[in-house]
């Protein structure tokens, strides 16, 4: 199979970036729902922190596993991911603004802000990966 065919049919061995990214997003969404469902009660942050930590580990693992892929189309990846990052940073900023406008403070704000950071990095990573996996290196 030629290199182009490999890229075309996606038969290359690639890490499960999409699956891990979706799991990572699901974890931060679960943490966000957990916190939002208890407003305005004081709620233990430990479950949300644990979910966030697991999500961050998945993000790091995903990025690391991508760096180990031979012949990955990095120019294509960055060409797409940088614009997606800009778009999702704007969306994350809007959500953060809504949190601050409603006087969210303390640990819950930290957890939700870091969750937004994971969101704003992982979604562009996923978009860049989905495009680059079908591109020639």
């Amino acid at each position: 199979m030629s290199a182009r065919n490999g890229a075309e049919t996606d038969e290359r061995r690639l890490p499960p970036v999409t699956q891990l990214a979706m799991l990572s997003l699901a974890l931060i969404v679960t943490g966000g729902i957990y916190l939002a469902a208890h407003i305005p009660q004081h709620v233990p942050l430990a479950p949300a922190v644990a979910l966030l930590a697991a999500s961050i580990l998945l993000l790091i693992g995903n990025l690391f596993s991508l760096t180990r892929v031979d012949g990955f189309a990095w120019p294509t990846f960055f060409g797409v991911a940088k614009w997606a990052l800009l778009a999702y940073a704007v969306i994350a900023g809007l959500i953060e603004y809504a949190f601050l406008r409603n006087h969210l403070r303390g640990g819950a704000l930290v957890v939700l802000t870091l969750s937004l950071v994971v969101f704003a990095i992982h979604v562009p990573t996923l978009i860049g990966f989905t495009v680059a996996r079908f591109a020639d290196a």
């Binding site: 997003l25 729902i33 469902a37 208890h38 797409v80 809504a98 406008r101 409603n102 495009v131």
Partner: protein, 205 residues
């Protein structure tokens, strides 16, 4: 304008595959970015002034847009696209999907941000709200929809457009990504029915 080879099993071995012309298109329509920017400015203003009418308007108008687009795309247009000929589907895709790249993130962001602000203003996001369980159910449904849309739908949308921009687009890749997009849109369409049930229940309380 790019051309794409259509894979057909019935073609004689010596005949070149028929070529489809791909219209010129922008992956992200630049003119649309100004509209998106204007909508986001309106959203920020509505959250800043924190008045009920602008928040209700943005939440209801954009939420209705989100629901209708998901239902229509997932349950009506998706199956139709699946049955279209490849040339027709390619032409339709190059006209529809660049718009979706801008429309969907915008309607979702405005609906959720305005809805959250409205919920804070009206007190419906408080755990003491009598229908709190319904609200948490809506969080869960929106959460699942967000993961599907962000993890599968949006990347497939952009990847298929990037593939169509190549000098030699690959039909199997386009087919695979379009299938992912259409199935995912179908699931989201069904989930929007649940959102409608919850939102109408909350609105009628």
């Amino acid at each position: 304008m790019t051309e794409i080879a259509v894979p057909t099993a019935a073609q004689p071995a010596v005949a070149p595959p028929p070529r489809i012309q791909i219209p010129e298109f922008e992956i992200v329509p630049r003119k649309g970015l100004f509209i998106v920017a204007a909508v986001l400015v309106l959203l920020i203003a509505a959250i800043a002034v924190n008045r009920e009418w602008p928040l209700v308007f943005l939440h209801v108008a954009f939420g209705a847009g989100w629901t209708i687009i998901d239902l229509f795309l997932g349950l009506i247009l998706g199956p139709i696209m699946g049955r279209m000929s490849v040339p027709a589907r390619v032409e339709f895709t190059t006209r529809l999907m660049p718009k979706m790249v801008l429309i969907m993130p915008t309607v979702v962001a405005v609906t959720l941000a305005a809805g959250w602000q409205l919920g804070n203003k009206l007190g419906t996001v408080q755990s003491s709200y009598p229908l709190h369980g319904w609200l948490v159910a809506s969080y869960i449904i929106v959460g699942v929809m967000a993961v599907l849309a962000l993890g599968l739908l949006e990347p497939a949308n952009i990847a298929v457009l990037c593939e169509l921009k190549k000098p030699r687009p690959n039909p199997p890749v386009i087919e695979r990504l379009m299938k992912r997009f259409i199935y995912c849109a179908g699931v989201l369409g069904v989930m929007q029915v649940a959102t409608l049930v919850i939102m109408t229940r909350l609105a009628s309380s």
